[in-house]
């Protein structure tokens, strides 16, 4: 009993820290509609800066002052980022905002490593709170008690701020209807900057108060951001009280989950989130958005099958790929095989996102399931490559059927978060189920059959499968089903009014996209000869998004081009510099802000003949 109570208190103190981060995220989303992926990075910065300050400033004042100063310093950085970057993308689709802030995360990750190194840093204990108090005969750290009080204290302060000050009233008004607020003459730009700064301050404070509890390390950001997203989604985006409730639920779930179900502790939180979203699609206390945003990929230029010129290009590319092994060495062939696989991955993501309008932040789940399906079939059943290639994608299909059923019930940011959650569930299962999946060590020794073992043969196998799959995806895009999927994206109201069963269509589209990603995963497992949890992780999902975006989300050929350029570039960059995260991050930011139409979109805009006819039609 006593032990349970102590565990409950532990849960409470974690809930407080989680609430600091999640409330900031929620406030930012509520007003600016930006889903701030960089929130975890600000949390991490808060911890690192606080570490440095408290190490150099002495005494109790130095410690507590250091924590506050760190949060303020990071908040100023956040304000700068808001002014320089985010102001340019407030009207972009949510995907662009997610990606831009992910780019910021990457840059900060690398900067942190450059400044503070890769080793864990142990911070100073809080002066005057080094001891413990006795509760039911058990020692409980004083500092943790302080944290338990801090959460409700912050909630109270936020309540006062939002209900008793003019600024707070404006923020609440903007949360409900920001178009109306700007129509009333409120300067939105500074309101947004203020809100963003406040949110970052809370995140950084959340990070700073961690230093007496835990080591400061450079994986803190992704760890906390996923949890914070879950909290905000459960509580309802933009709702502070909801974030408080959800923080409590998640923290207690973690505290007791680790005792009761140690094997699946990481999954519990995502299961709760999935259940909440199905019952209450906008979270416990959230409401639907007042002004739905323009759907991603809505375009003025309707898609058309390839022109003659386009067909010639495809033919030329195809021939070049067929003859490539004649003059390419093993390394180039290996890279080319990988590019082909990622072209399929990107094309499948585009089917879901560009055609279906369902933004996925966890598309790697299906890629990874395909790869692990392969490894398991080879390891446990000893199947040949042919049989494996046919059967393994079905693991991805099964995943997409189950996850998709939940996901298509939501839309926009909530859908993206749920896909992320399911990807993390899959990742957790694979990471924790050592006996079957090998956990962190992965599974090794998955090689193609002898006839396809050399680089050239496997390249041709990949070329054939990717070629057929990409052709199939393209056919689907221009088939009645592809049009229907696009129709659901363009106007739900109209789709419903002409007899289209939206849920069924989107579910089916989701599963198709997942299946093609799974096929990519199978090829990738054979190419690498091994599988690792990385294949199912967030960074891979983001790579996919960048490929689609780089090529041009509003075009059909874009993802293929994007995959080629991105993979070639990243292979080159990684082999030449250690700053690849900074480069990739900046690259993503520039892409989103300055080049949102992508490479193919750019060419269509500037060199397409169709443009003239459209212009003529206008006049």
């Amino acid at each position: 009993m006593d032990f349970i109570f102590i565990q409950f208190l532990n849960g409470l103190s974690s809930a407080s820290s989680l609430f600091l981060v999640a409330s900031g995220l929620s406030i930012i989303f509520g007003v600016t509609r930006i889903t701030n992926f960089a929130h975890g990075a600000f949390y991490m910065m808060g911890a690192y800066v606080a570490y440095t300050l408290t190490e150099s400033w002495m005494g109790a004042l130095g410690f507590w002052g250091g924590l506050i100063a760190a949060a303020v310093a990071v908040a100023i950085l956040g304000a700068l980022i808001e002014i320089v970057l985010l102001r340019r993308i407030y009207n972009s689709p949510e995907l662009f905002q997610l990606l831009a802030t992910f780019g910021v995360t990457l840059v900060i990750q690398d900067l942190v490593i450059q400044i503070w190194g890769v080793d864990d840093l142990l911070g100073r204990r809080a002066p005057g709170m080094k001891g413990a108090v006795e509760i039911f005969g058990q020692a409980f750290p004083t500092y943790e008690l302080m944290l338990i009080v801090l959460g409700p204290l912050c909630l109270g302060a936020l309540w006062l701020l939002f209900n008793k000050t003019r600024w707070g009233v404006l923020v609440r008004a903007a949360t409900q209807d920001r178009m109306m607020v700007s129509a009333l003459g409120v300067n939105q730009a500074w309101l947004f900057t203020g809100v963003f700064t406040l949110g970052v301050f809370l995140a950084a404070l959340g990070g700073a108060v961690q230093i007496p509890r835990d080591a400061v390390h450079n994986a803190m950001d992704l760890q906390i951001i996923v949890e914070a997203f879950v909290v905000v989604v459960i509580g309802g985006f933009g709702n502070v009280l909801g974030a408080f409730l959800a923080s409590f639920i998640i923290a207690e779930l973690n505290a007791f989950g680790i005792l009761l179900f140690p094997k699946i502790s990481m999954i519990l939180m995502f299961l709760v989130m999935a259940v909440v979203l199905v019952i209450r699609p906008y979270g416990l206390l959230g409401k639907a958005e007042a002004h739905p945003r323009t759907a991603l990929g809505s375009v003025i230029r309707p898609w058309a099958p390839l022109s003659k010129l386009g067909k010639n290009w495809v033919l030329a590319l195809g021939l070049a790929l067929v003859f490539l092994p004649m003059f390419a060495g093993d390394f180039l062939l290996n890279v080319s095989t990988e590019i082909l696989i990622f072209a399929l991955f990107a094309a499948s993501l585009h089917l879901m996102m560009g055609v279906g309008g369902m933004v996925s932040f966890g598309h790697a789940a299906y890629f990874g399931l395909g790869a692990y399906g392969t490894a398991l079939l080879v390891k446990f059943l000893g199947l040949s490559m042919g049989a494996t290639m046919v059967l393994a994608p079905f693991l991805a299909v099964a995943g997409a059927i189950i996850f998709g059923w939940f996901c298509v019930r939501l839309s926009g940011v909530y859908l993206a978060m749920l896909t992320l959650a399911f990807a993390q569930i899959s990742w957790s299962v694979i990471f924790q189920w050592d006996d079957v999946t090998g956990g962190d060590n992965g599974l090794l020794g998955i090689w193609p059959d002898a006839w396809a073992a050399d680089q050239t043969s496997f390249y041709y196998v990949t070329l054939a499968i990717v070629g057929i799959s990409v052709y199939a995806i393209r056919r689907i895009v221009f088939s009645p089903f592809g049009y229907t999927l696009r129709g659901c994206r363009d106007s739900l109201l109209r789709a419903d009014a002409i007899g289209i069963d939206r849920l069924r269509i989107q579910w089916f589209g989701f599963v198709l996209a997942g299946s093609f990603a799974g096929v990519g995963g199978v090829l990738f497992a054979y190419l690498k000869g091994s599988v690792f949890p990385d294949y199912i992780s967030i960074p891979l999902s983001v790579d996919g998004l960048v490929m689609v975006l780089l090529g041009g989300i509003q075009t059909v050929a874009g993802p293929i081009v994007g995959a080629g350029v991105f993979k070639a570039l990243s292979t080159f960059i990684i082999s030449h510099t250690e700053f690849w995260k900074i480069i990739l991050g900046s690259f993503i930011i520039v892409l989103v802000v300055a080049f949102p139409q992508g490479i193919v979109g750019f060419f269509l805009e500037h060199f397409s003949k169709k443009k003239d006819s459209i212009e003529e039609g206008k006049s």
Partner: protein
């Protein structure tokens, strides 16, 4: 003969009764107008008819078949077409593709993955566009159309499944006066030609009294009058709702609408 028979239709939101015990019939081949001041329950009524809102109670029979409680897509399959107050079309497609989409759905080929959608039912779609005089703009991107043209396109889409009855929610809203007359004339012609029925809501009394065969009036969720336009014009209760008391209906309202 009646195509649609509505009885005892009710809906409340929280404690507010939006629609109370509304009943009427739509006769075959007629244009029936549904009018009433803002907040009278017109849109609520409309949205219940096509299944977008779940009714609290009542019955909606289409040629004798109960359709209350069905989803909008199922109602559509029974032969009820719909246009929206704020036009809803597929903006990433061309004009003709929008109509083809509706035809593909009508022919139950939504899940088909082999044919090119762009060449399916093209002639039928073209004929529908001709019907609403949009054939010249068939290949234009839908997102670039003038608003009046979008409304005409919606009409073509709504006609794609050979509906028995069309529900048109403020078909003329947001259009120039001459466009309104043209669109309603077009609708009336189609109704006569295909022998179907139209139920429409409208604020523009010019449109209502020049095109409707019969008019019904909702106020605070209750049906207060139903009859020929001339009868409705003379109805004192209707006049008082629209004008307060004492004003002359024709000049004041028709003139300023």
């Amino acid at each position: 003969m009646s195509s649609l028979v509505v009885k005892g239709l009710s809906k409340s939101f929280g404690g507010v009764k939006a629609v109370t015990n509304v009943g009427f019939e739509v006769r075959k081949g007629e244009l029936l107008a549904l009018i009433g001041p803002n907040g009278a329950g017109k849109s609520t009524c409309f949205n219940m008819l096509n299944g977008q809102l779940k009714a609290d109670g009542g019955s909606i029979k289409l040629f004798g078949e109960e359709i209350i409680g069905l989803e909008p897509r199922q109602v559509w399959r029974k032969g009820v077409g719909r246009t929206f107050q704020i036009a809803a079309t597929f903006t990433s497609m061309t004009v003709i593709e929008n109509v083809q989409m509706a035809l593909i759905s009508h022919h139950k080929r939504l899940l088909s993955m082999l044919p090119f959608a762009g060449s399916l039912y093209k002639e039928e779609a073209y004929e529908l566009l001709e019907l609403v005089s949009m054939q010249d703009q068939a290949e234009r991107p839908c997102g670039m159309l003038a608003y009046g043209d979008v409304k005409r396109l919606e009409l073509a889409i709504a006609l794609a499944n050979d509906p028995q009855i069309l529900l048109m929610d403020e078909p003329a809203a947001g259009m120039a006066p001459n466009e309104r007359i043209a669109l309603m004339q077009l609708t009336a012609d189609i109704v006569k030609e295909k022998d179907i029925s139209v139920l429409f809501t409208e604020h523009d009394m010019d449109v209502v009294f020049s095109h409707a065969d019969r008019v019904m009036v909702l106020n605070r969720g209750e049906l207060i009058a139903l009859g020929l336009p001339s009868e409705i014009r003379e109805n004192e209760e209707v006049q008082s709702i629209y004008l307060g008391t004492g004003a002359v209906y024709d000049e004041e309202l028709v003139g300023n609408a």
